[in-house]
Symmetry: C2
Subunit: 357 residues, 2 copies
C-alpha cells in the first residue's frame, strides 16, 4: 500500500501492517480526554500555555478550538510563551479534512470547556512532587468510568482513537513508568527537555510509593488521565481496534494497562515522527519493552513549512499532543492522502488562524 | 417482513415501511436526554417518582439503572407512588437483549447521574405556570448544543434513537404544541389523565407569550429538553435516520423542529401502542398534522404479563418514556424477534429487580 511510505512502523512490524489493514476502510471516532495535574504548576515543567495562569485553560481551549475553530474560555488558541501554536492545530486539520467525528471527555480538567462534553466528575490530580496525585478510590473510579466510556465508544465505531490534553503530563507519565519498572526517558513540549527537573520530581514522587499494587502506584505518582484512558483501553480493546494517539503519555497508559489487562491484538500507538525520533527520549524501545503492541509514526513534513510556527514542531516544540499523530494517520488512511497534502492543509489552517485573529 | 406484524404504522405508511427497511440491518445508538422542569413540582401533575421529593431523582436514576442495572442516587429504581416501575425497565430489556449501546446526555437535569454522561451545562426549566421556562438565550444555547451532539452521534451510527426522561414534560409539551398552533391533547403517566390541570397550566403559560418567534415560544412555555432534542434532530437528520423515541413530548419536538428546520426524510417517531391507542390523547392525528413523518408503534403485549407491575403499562400507567417504544422497536428489528419474546425478557428483568432487591 502506497500509504505506508508515509508511516514508520516499529515494534512488531507485521502486527502494525495488519492493524493498518484492519482499520483503513472503517469508520474512525476520535475521543479527546482533557485532564489536569497540579504538577504542571512547577515552574519550567511545561510550555503548554503562554504563561503560568493560562496553562489551566489549555485543555478546554484545545477542545473548543477543535469544535469551533476558535476558543471560548480564552481569546486565542493555546500557544507556547513565544507564540507557537498548540498541536491541536494538526489534529483539527486532520479531523476536518477527513470528516472524522470527535467527542471531548473531561477526566479531571480544572476548567470545563464551553461545549457539550462527556463529564466524569473526576477531580484534577495533585502535584506529585509534594502530594499523592489521587486516592486509590479515585483511581478505581477513573478506571471504571473509563471502562464505561470505552465500551460505549468502541461499540459505535470501527476504530476508536484516544488522545489527551494534560499539561505537565509527561512528568507524571515518567514517574508512572519508572514506578512500574520501565527505564523511561520522556519527551517534552520544550526543545531543551528539562530532563533533570522531571527526574527530580519523579524521584520525589517515587519515594512516596509503599506498595506494588499498580492502582496504588498510579494514585501516588500518576494523574487522572492515565487510569481513565487505561480503563477506556481495557474495555474498548475487547471490542474493536483502538489507537492510542500520543507519545510518552500513552506509553504510561500502556504500562498501566499491561498490569490491569487489555487486548494487545486490538491495540496500537499512533504518533508523530517528532516523538519516535526524539533522541532525548526512548519511545521506540519503551513501547516494545512494555507490550507487544505495534506503533505507527507519521512524519507530517512540517520542517518543509513556510511558517516558522509549523516548522517549530519539527524542531522540538510540542512535538505531539491532542492526538495529533494518531488523527493524522487516520486522516491519511481515510483520505488516501499523503503527508505533502496534509502539510498543505495544515498551512491553510495556520494561515486562517493567524491572519483572521 | 414478518416483523411488521408487531408494529402499527401510521402517518405516511409507505414512508414508515421504507424507514424500517433502511434501519433494520444497521447499527443503532440510543441517546437518553435527561432534563428537568419545575413544572413537575405542581401537585398532581406527574407520577414519575414515589413522592414529591424523589421526582427530581427520577431522570438520573433512570440513567443509572440503564447502565448498572440498579441506581446510585436513590436506593430503588424509579417508581410510581404505588410501586409501579419506570418505563426504563422496558428500555433496559430492549437495549440489553440486543446489545444496542447507549449514552446519557444531561440537558438540564437538576441532579447529575453517577456515571459518565454528556454534559451541556444547561439549567433546569422553570415552572411555566408562574415563570418563563428559560431565557431566549438559553433556548438558542440548547439548540446549538443539541446540534453539536446530534451531528456527532448521527455520524457514528446508522440510526440514532433519541429518548427522554423529564418528569412533568407532557405538560410543557402540551403548552408548546398549543402555542405553536396545534390542537394537542396529551398523554400522561397517570391513568386518570389530569387533563383539566394540564390545560390550566398550559393556559397560564400561554398568557405569557407575546411573540410569534418559535424560540421565544419555547422560552416562555417549554422545557430544556425540547430545544435540545430539536437541535439534535435538526443536525442529525441531515446525516442519518433518526428515531424520536417517545409520545407526546416527541410531538412537541417535532412541532418546534418543523419551525426551525429538519430533514423529514430521515425522521420517524417510535412509540408504544399505549400512546398511540390512548383515547385521552390524539397522538396519531397530531403527528400527521405537524409533519410528514411516519410513526411506528409497538405493542409489547404487557397486558399478558403475569406481573401486575408490567400489566400496569397497558392499563395507562407510565405508558411510555425513557425511549421505551423506540428501543423496543430497534431491539425487535436487530434481534429479528417478536413482542412475545420481548415480554418474556421484560418479565425476567422485572423478576430480577423485584426479587433481588
Amino acid at each position: 500500500m502506497k500509504l505506508l511510505d508515509d508511516f514508520e512502523l516499529f515494534g512488531n512490524i507485521a502486527k502494525a501492517e495488519n492493524f493498518i489493514n484492519r482499520i483503513k476502510d472503517g469508520k474512525f471516532l476520535f475521543s479527546l480526554v482533557i485532564s489536569y495535574t497540579e504538577t504542571c504548576e512547577i515552574p519550567g515543567i511545561t510550555f503548554a500555555g503562554a504563561d503560568k495562569e493560562s496553562i489551566q485553560y489549555t485543555p478546554p481551549a484545545d477542545a473548543e478550538y477543535l469544535h469551533y475553530g476558535n476558543c471560548k474560555t480564552i481569546d486565542k488558541i493555546p500557544m507556547t510563551p513565544d507564540g507557537k501554536p498548540t498541536p491541536a492545530l494538526l489534529t483539527k486539520t486532520a479531523l476536518e479534512s477527513s470528516s472524522i467525528p470527535h467527542i471531548v471527555i473531561n477526566a479531571g480538567s480544572k476548567i470545563s470547556p464551553q461545549l457539550p462534553f462527556i463529564q466524569t466528575g473526576l477531580s484534577p490530580g495533585k502535584n506529585i512532587s509534594i502530594n499523592p496525585a489521587m486516592t486509590d478510590l479515585q483511581v478505581s473510579q477513573a478506571v471504571n468510568y473509563g471502562r464505561i466510556i470505552g465500551r460505549t465508544l468502541a461499540s459505535i465505531t470501527d476504530c476508536l482513537i484516544i488522545g489527551e490534553s494534560i499539561p505537565g503530563g509527561t512528568t507524571t507519565a515518567l514517574a508512572v513508568m519508572k514506578a512500574l519498572g520501565y527505564k523511561a526517558k520522556v519527551s517534552s513540549s520544550i526543545p531543551n527537555n528539562p530532563v533533570v527537573l522531571k527526574n527530580q520530581i519523579a524521584s520525589m514522587a517515587l519515594d512516596r510509593i509503599n506498595s506494588d499494587n499498580p492502582y496504588d502506584v498510579i494514585a501516588k505518582v500518576g494523574d487522572p488521565m492515565i487510569p481513565f484512558v487505561t480503563g477506556m483501553l481495557s474495555a474498548a480493546s475487547e471490542i474493536n481496534p483502538i489507537m492510542l494517539a500520543g507519545g510518552t503519555q500513552m506509553t504510561a497508559v500502556l504500562a498501566f494497562a499491561s498490569k490491569i489487562g487489555f487486548n494487545e491484538k486490538n491495540t496500537a500507538i499512533g504518533t508523530t515522527s517528532y516523538i519516535s525520533d526524539d533522541e532525548s527520549a526512548n519511545f521506540k524501545n519503551l513501547v516494545s519493552e512494555i507490550a507487544d503492541v505495534p506503533a505507527i509514526a507519521v512524519n507530517p513534513l512540517l520542517k518543509n513549512s513556510k511558517f516558522p510556527g509549523l516548522r517549530a514542531f519539527s524542531e522540538g516544540f510540542a512535538k505531539e499532543g491532542v492526538g495529533a499523530g494518531g488523527t493524522i494517520i487516520a486522516s491519511l488512511l481515510k483520505n488516501r492522502n499523503n503527508s505533502s497534502k496534509f502539510l498543505e492543509l495544515a498551512e491553510k489552517e495556520y494561515g486562517r488562524i493567524f491572519t483572521s485573529q
